[in-house]
Amino acid sequence: MYKNALCALPIMLAMASPALADPGQTPDEVLQALIDRSDSAYLTQSEQNLMMMQDEPSYWVIEQGEILFKEPRGPKKASLEQCDFGKGPGVLEGAYVEMPRYFADTGKVMDLESRLMHCMKTLQGFTDEDKAIKDKHGNTDLVKIQTFIAAKSNGMAWNPPMDHPLEKAMRGAGEEFFYRRAGVSDFACSTCHGATGKRIRASVLPNSSIPDEWTKAVSWPAFRVGHEAVRGSQHRVSECIWQMRQAEIVYGSEAAIAIIAYWTDKARGQPAILPDLKR
């Protein structure tokens, strides 16, 4: 118990810091508050996106996700309201900013997307072959539902638990992968996210070591303006690795979860922008 209390201390400090935004804010207000106390060129680079954020197309995706979440669906005709995202069955407020986390029922560290698929299988009876799970990216059930769930953590500080040894192990592997150069271009995640204010073409890149800009980088789901679609964390992982000319990463794999575990930890204490809007 004593040890647990010690572990909780830095978390409490983080929550007491001004980094924690007012949960009543909209995503654009959360971002504006970050911009007001930071000099990050990454946060302010796109006047276009800052304007568009005030009318995010993803607001409609949240509404669609809420309907899908509450509707009895699948062979078992059940809703997802009994799904445990880590804070107890049906508790969505603040659940996403505390993921990935260890789940005793699966014995695994899971991120939002893999946990959602798990509940759709166990509670609703869907299988990998069903459209509801098979269609990962785009205008899909998975994207709509995760956007609804994630929005319940808007403005809250990222706070993924690091109590279970597996949570630490996965974060450690994610960090290792972050620096792991491979493929025909010798790229690693750190190639683009290891320095401040650097640009790739016209885009300012976020530095993983600057938490108040990194929080925007890991704030998924986000509406990708160039894709005309809402994208999730798994999509971001996949697309970066694709641009890095490495192999195709498997959606929901533990490799992807490890990367997400590390990147979420690097934003610890900073308010999540959910849903965000990106280039």
Binding site: D55, P57, Y59, W60, E228
Partner: protein, 102 residues
Amino acid sequence: MSEVKIRAALKDGKCEVKALLTHPMETGRRKDPAGNLIPAHHIQTVELLHNGNLMVEADWGGAISTNPFFSVSLNNVASGDTIEVRWVDNKGETSSGSVKVK
């Protein structure tokens, strides 16, 4: 997939109406991967009605973005009023949606 999504919110004495339409908005100048011109297919006229009264009539060309978004504001709107948005495109297709102001 011709949804019309509308939000109408009373704020500072006026009603801000935001609408998101589903439409490809082809200009007629784009080419498909085989190099053939994709024919123009875009919304031409959008109407916004408040309790059945025409308030905004907009003419659009193909340079409005795909899946168009627009917002306008109205005075003299009360909670419970109906806001309707409808459009017609250059092929004569049409769609509409309505919402009650909260």
